[in-house]
Subunit: 265 residues, 3 copies
């Protein structure tokens, strides 16, 4: 028997919003440690990994590890039937072919129960080495979202270049060019507005904005986003998942390989 | 001469919003009692009946009964030109071929006057027997709207089953199944949030969600909706129309026959 | 070197919103007096003229007059990358082929820099005689916008007729007819809500609503709009541009010839 209860059900709704347009079908691996998911996007360019720790749930029971394969857009449709203040409980019997979602409204005599069919999906879990990165930038997630959206007006790719205390996003295209510069800040008052840069060596890499804009759909999950870059390895875009009282619940990480520029100019 | 004035013109705007997508053309029957309309929807599956009592208007004059046939989407377009705080006056001479709508903004030197052509429509008024129903449920209208919208994500039909103190809405389809349970409540504090069930015998019937979602467009008219069910007769979905100070102005009622389930499972 | 800085960058965003759907490409004429633009709309029916005075900018330098031809929809796309509270600076070297836009967020360590390619455009500057008009009406701009939008539901053209102390907008079409009457007011309390009419002789003229609705996109620039009419000359629709402290910064004027009614009725 697998059962996981989340009083702040809205977190689960936001996680699905952050991955459903990128990945069609995926398997949740449920163990006593928690729930996790790893999947390539539909065009096999980027990778998304989600981790929700067992102790982040308000109730968590996983008698033995199970793999719950499902269509994420179906799951997302059903989660849209949950109110933002609903408690959400996931239930799956050990050898069933469906998962049950129970939505309970606060202080209300209303309960909804939805069942989604499970799927058998081929999956291979990629081990991602926990390497140190040349550059790590933490910045407000809404600012990252806005920059990626703005620069997609200009071009298809963004060139990220990072120096000691500033990071630069640049794009060019038919109508001209654009660059956004962010300096490191020290806003101790509002840590969620701060920009902090930790750099071992300067780096300059280009990425497809289409994917970064997909990743930015995780913005509602976290006030800050972390970008990690190193030569010749994929960029990691990480949003930590916290609940309302700020305790760590897990993360959503996106991986995207840099573009190889055929004709440098 | 027919003339009817409504200081809260927004009520008329909401009534049109509640019927214009269901019915293309219909006749308003105007008598000294008030204005009423009865029409089948365009696909001849459901029936809508509207009643606005003469004494609910701020001024009402109907020298002799008239039938005002019109295109409801034209009328709705013109009512969109009225502000939400406008006073609306309807005027029709006894043998004219058009109706005049006058919109007056509060405290403003602005008056608008629109004329809509009248149409001769075949109409037959169906007498609907005022039978007692096996089950009557009163519930928050926004909740009925949300449930119908949510379950249409799952399937085309909803099965409503009613027991002594709870009502259950269920749907199933390709992506799974969903049920919403509501228990009777006694929220004397906020009567508009209460769920009350009056039952002679348990009932279970299925209805096309497409029509229920059309009916739910009347939600802005009333905080509560009433569902009346009996074996072998159409469901009645009723929204009472009240003005700002809560006095009874009339109703909008929708009738929909239950689906006959060919292959029960 | 041309350089113009505007702390309230939102004004420039609003100006572009007011002209970009009407005019594809146009030239800004920059001189020591300020920036101005004059262009026919894409279908060569109406004319738009924009004037921004040099002393309305927070910093303005124009060593010698330059003409900056550009695609206005590209410029508008790039201005959408500026926040509403950003300071915007325009820069163009004397003989360059592009213009640079710098966006600086308030109290933030973020700077964006965009470059747009300039174009060589044929342009002829039409001299518009500064004639007295038979009628001048000043009215709330949002009301003009709403009337033009409402009447386009009814017909393609609006007939504006002006008497001593009232102005009337009328349209008719397949679904009926509509007229809106505004009386002169004297709301000394809220001058932005007042309607004032100055009339030498009564006038009645018809105009294509499609263009008036384009002009009304300037509504966010000014609480009042001025309509000037005379027999046989184009209507002038003028929005004055003011900054937050109310000082005069310039204007945007639209010119539209009256429709010649082939078959009067």
């Amino acid at each position: 028997m697998f059962e996981a209860k989340l009083i702040q059900g809205a977190i689960l709704k936001k996680i699905l919003d952050a991955i459903k347009d990128l990945v069609n079908e995926a398997s949740w691996d449920c163990s006593s440690q928690g729930m996790s998911l790893q999947a390539m996007d539909t065009s096999h360019v980027s990778l998304v990994a989600v981790q929700m720790k067992a102790d982040g749930f308000d109730k968590y029971r996983c008698d033995r590890s199970v793999t719950l394969g499902m269509n994420l857009s179906s799951l997302s449709k059903i989660l849209k039937c949950a109110g933002n203040d609903d408690t959400i409980t996931l239930k799956a019997p050990d050898d069933g072919d469906k998962i049950t979602l129970v939505f309970e409204a606060k202080n209300e005599s209303e309960t909804s129960e939805y069942e989604v069919k499970l799927m058998n999906l081929d999956s291979e879990y990629l081990g991602i080495p926990d390497t140190p990165y040349s550059v790590n930038v933490k910045m407000p997630s809404h600012k990252f979202q806005r920059i990626c959206r703005d620069l997609q007006q200009i071009g298809d790719a963004v060139t990220i270049s990072c120096a000691k205390d500033s990071i630069r996003f640049a794009a060019k295209g038919d109508l001209g060019s654009g660059t956004v510069n962010l300096c490191q800040t020290a806003s101790a008052d509002k840590p969620e507005d701060s920009v902090s840069i930790s750099m071992q060596e300067p780096i300059i890499q280009s990425f497809a904005l289409k994917y970064l804009n997909h990743f930015a759909k995780a913005t509602p999950l976290s006030p800050q986003v972390s970008l990690s870059l190193s030569p010749d390895v994929p960029l990691v875009v990480e949003y930590s998942i916290t609940d309302d009282d700020g305790s760590d619940f897990g993360y959503i990480r996106y991986y995207l390989a840099p573009k190889i520029d055929e004709n440098d100019d």
